[in-house]
Subunit: 204 residues, 2 copies
């Protein structure tokens, strides 16, 4: 099985890149589908699952999965459970044996034994803020400053989740095969360049 | 002018990648040629120039090019001068107007106004140590531990030099267009993949 995982800074366009990449490679694509599966398996609302997995206040939690969960309240217990379910869902994707692109969910850490091609997607803060503001829902009037704060907060949470799951440092060169900066690229062009990279990796 | 700059962790194979890349793209290649030019222009020995530019004890130096160099001793004055000469040599390469690949020398910072395609090359410490030990001169018996210490020391110096020259943080995702991990790659294959990237970037 050939798998490509995409970790990304919020607002960098990693999801768009991943979709183009999956189409170009003819691989299955997973992103929100994972959230949907977790929600279904637990009789939970998708929005709740997403919030619990993305917006956890990691500050309040011990940084390792220790033997004891004393002191972790109900919400945190639920979140820990969701991480376990998420792991099972991602492993289920791998079990289909079909080539795939997975965006987010620390899939590179969860599927480490499958040796996925690990991509990290970044962009300058300016580019990310621009992208987020362009894509804000009609009528949602978020300032530049708030947008930047959101980006930092979400990325901090992503880095913490990765740390908890035991992955290499989030966004650090050596934790990935390839880091691409989306700034200045047409996303389809970039996806073609990345696809060339992936095909060479698997063809070597 | 199309230019590609390669910053690299010591032992990651950035130079080898750069050579293949220049050949594949048909671009001029610069690396040690810059040291040679600096040495010639200053009537200095190449080994001395290299040592002064790579192995500076940056700890002992103020971190900005301030107005006053009080307290900087003769050696440091020489090193500062060499950085200025280096800048002139690198700018001279750009003035030829010919497409080029430049390895090291913080060329991406020095040529920022030419908007080069900035690549950073990395590998795991294990892979770098292996590479260095394989390439150690016959009879030079350096231990694994010493090799690792050398790598860390040289990379620390490279990061500091970049900081002094005012570049983005060395090795940090957002400071580059592309970060490639050489581990597991045949270097020619990797160079082909990177060449595809560069050509798409300049063709966009």
């Amino acid at each position: 099985m050939r798998s490509v995982t995409i970790s990304r800074e919020f607002g960098s366009g990693g999801r768009e890149l991943g979709k183009h990449l999956a189409r170009l490679l003819g691989y299955d694509y997973y992103d929100r589908e994972i959230i949907t599966a977790i929600a279904e398996q637990n009789g939970l609302n998708e929005g709740y699952v997403e919030m619990a997995l993305e917006k956890w206040d990691w500050q309040a939690m011990p940084l390792t999965f220790g033997r004891s969960f004393a002191g972790i309240n109900g919400m945190q217990q639920m979140q820990t459970n969701l991480l376990v379910v998420q792991k099972r869902v991602v492993e289920g994707i791998a079990k289909t044996g079909k080539d795939c692109v997975i965006v987010g969910r620390n899939a590179d850490v969860l599927l480490a034994d499958k040796e996925p091609f690990r991509i990290f997607v970044c962009a300058s803060m300016d580019a990310k803020v621009r992208r987020c503001m362009e894509r804000a829902p009609e009528g949602e009037d978020i300032s530049r400053k708030e947008t930047e704060q959101n980006i930092r907060r979400i990325d901090k949470s992503r880095a913490k989740t990765r740390e908890i799951l035991g992955g290499g440092k989030w966004g650090e060169a050596n934790a990935y095969h390839l880091i691409v900066n989306t700034e200045g690229w047409d996303m389809e062009e970039l996806a073609s360049a990345v696809a060339g990279f992936v095909l060479r990796w698997y063809g070597r």
